[in-house]
Symmetry: C2
Subunit: 110 residues, 2 copies
DNA sequence: CCCTTTACATCGACAGTCTATGCATAGATA
DNA sequence: TATCTATGCATAGACTGTCGATGTAAAGGG
């Protein structure tokens, strides 16, 4: 898997995972890994800066919690975050379809 | 359209356009624009560095031609370029499907 | 005669990802 | 007990790649 492709989709995927309820960094990496069937591995060096970025942009809010003797920073999607997520998903849909057309539509079938 | 998503797909799309026969920079931008129905605009600041990159990597070879009083640098796909293109398309297919799964498969239908 | 289109190219700014590193704790295992 | 793996957060520096701006140049139309 070409990891360069992941650029620009990290924020969207984080927000998507957070839609199901408050979550934290490590859990996000696991969720993405599982949902993508092992294909997409969010690296820590990308994940944490992204989380901080999203919080600065008010798309996520954070809160420290102590669970099972482990401190976790839980992130919750804000209303603005939800809106942004919808827009990003729409963008992704249009973008991926556009690339598909450039590649000839049936590129996966030949 | 979020232009950040284009990162990592530029080289692939250039190679794809070149599959149909020797082409040149400006023609590539037009081809991508038309095939994507106006969605994807390869900027010159990305295009020319990419063409040079691909030539350095021996995936393309170039040749100057004079057509209708215009000098154009035609690029031709090498056998290695063809192989790389196939791999990149496969990568893209797997990647886009993986993102789709993370987003919930039916994200375009809701 | 100018404006748009065609055509190539580069530079510096900028954004975002990655590797490596650091810290810390829980639980399993040797 | 000591060590290893998994969990959990974080940052710094390297690196890559895209973009806007800028430059050059010529064709063709108004």
């Amino acid at each position: 898997m070409d990891q360069k492709l992941i650029s620009g989709t990290v924020d969207m995927m984080i927000l998507e995972v957070a839609v199901d309820g408050p979550t934290y960094g490590y859990a996000v990496t696991q969720a993405v890994l599982q949902r993508s069937e092992g294909k997409l591995e969010l690296k820590e060096g990308s994940l944490y800066p992204a989380l901080h970025r999203l919080e600065r942009s008010k798309l996520l809010t954070s809160e420290w919690r102590e669970v099972d003797g482990r401190r976790r920073k839980y992130y919750r999607l804000t209303p603005a975050g939800k809106k942004t997520l919808q827009a990003r998903k729409q963008d992704w849909l249009e973008f991926s379809q556009a690339v598909g057309r450039v590649l000839g539509e049936n590129y996966g079938l030949t």
